[in-house]
């Protein structure tokens, strides 16, 4: 499964996004605030989920901030780390 699709599935199933399917999430939709409506508590959870599912630990939080913009940026971040 491609990283983006896996991420969307994780978001819907593990962060309990109500009334939304993985297919409905656009790649560029912001994860936090007006986009998917995630908040600071979800950010903590997301850090844990990324480590659990992809084995990637977000150490540098500035980097994490850029990665957390959308599914697209997060998938790009994960892809880069997996290759590196």
């Amino acid at each position: 499964m491609a990283i983006k699709e896996k991420l969307k599935k994780i978001l819907v199933e593990e962060l309990n996004l109500e009334d939304m399917t993985a297919e409905e999430i656009e790649d560029s939709t912001p994860l936090f605030g007006e986009g998917l409506g995630l908040d600071s508590l979800d950010a903590v959870e997301l850090v844990v989920l990324i480590q659990k599912h992809f084995g990637i630990e977000i150490q540098d939080m500035e980097e994490g901030r850029e990665a957390f913009e959308s599914v697209e940026t997060l998938a790009g971040f994960i892809d880069e780390r997996l290759k590196g």
Binding site: E14, D39, S40, A43, V44, V47, V48, I58, Q59, M61
Partner: protein, 307 residues
């Protein structure tokens, strides 16, 4: 009312005006702490006698801490509590204006803290608005680890932190909870680097989604559980640290307990409740021993955000 305002009823704004603060700072410069204390006795007496609105702010706590007190005794308790706060604020300013040598601060549990930092997963210091937590934090230099402080200061607040008097800049890295994602990424980043993160366990920050109800002094109040969630996510231990004024020129900082939150507790807020309740119990024990050094002057138990 949005959920953040509903969850947060306190304000960091001082009761006094800017000139009143400047007057005290001048008094400390010219006459030292004792001159400022002397004036303080009269000012607190004025507030207690002629400003019932201010006196009422201490009664939310005093009613629960001393449920059997009558009106006269309650008035006296309110005076004691406000006087202790005034002294702490003077001490805090004196450290910044006259230097840290004006007070002695002892740290009980230094070895324990060093061991916790030595685990390498960061350390969350959970403090409370008791004693003089800012002055007591000077004792944390012995940890030889960068200290990050989660703190929210209101716009227009005239009260200064002790380091603002000396103009040397903050000895701590300040994390603003109004920042990106409530500062959570910054907090986790600090812990992942093995640093110390200091948070206040007794105040609501953020939305009511991040709160759990705990029992404190016989009633239910909401506290934020984000710190426990971050502890679970990072593996960082939580040291509960309270300060108290032990004499005219001395403070003590004591490790009252260590809370370890297991990993993988998930999203349910109920999973974090036992840890928040443990903190509330330790805070309650503190108020039994130091009833007039508890400085939350608002209705912590009003869960509807009214009043």
């Amino acid at each position: 009312m949005d959920s953040e305002k509903k969850g947060r009823q306190w304000s960091s704004k001082s009761v006094g005006t800017a000139w009143q603060h400047r007057f005290f700072y001048l008094l400390i410069r010219l006459g030292g702490r004792w001159a400022a204390y002397l004036v303080l006795y009269f000012i607190i007496f004025y507030y207690m006698l002629l400003r019932p609105d201010q006196r009422k702010k201490s009664e939310y706590y005093l009613r629960r801490r001393f449920p059997d007190s009558g009106p006269v005794r309650r008035w006296w308790q309110s005076y004691r509590m406000s006087l202790e706060l005034g002294k702490v604020l003077i001490d805090r300013a004196a450290v910044g204006i006259l230097g840290p040598e004006v007070l002695s601060v002892t740290l009980q549990g230094r070895e324990e803290l060093l061991e916790l930092v030595g685990e390498g997963r960061g350390l969350i210091l959970m403090m409370s608005h008791v004693g003089c937590w800012q002055v007591a934090m000077a004792a944390l230099r012995c940890l030889e680890t960068p200290v990050n402080l989660l703190i929210q200061q209101e716009e227009g607040d005239v009260d200064r932190h002790f380091f603002e008097h000396s103009g040397t800049g903050s000895p701590f890295h300040i994390i603003d909870p109004r920042g990106y994602l409530g500062g959570t990424l910054e907090m986790m980043g600090a812990l992942k680097k093995g640093e110390v993160l200091s948070v206040m366990g007794d105040r609501m920050l953020g939305s009511d989604r991040s709160s759990v109800p705990v029992r404190f002094l016989g009633d239910e109040m909401q506290v934020n559980f984000s710190s426990y969630k971050i502890a679970s996510a990072t593996g960082a231990p939580i040291a509960v640290l309270f300060s108290r004024k032990t004499g005219p020129s001395s403070y003590e900082l004591q490790v009252s307990g260590v809370i370890r939150v297991p990993a993988d507790l998930g999203r349910s807020k109920e999973a974090y409740l036992p840890y928040a309740q443990l903190f509330a119990r330790l805070l309650e024990e503190y108020t039994v021993k130091n009833p007039f050094q508890f400085f939350n002057f608002y209705d912590m138990w009003n869960n509807d955000g009214e009043g």
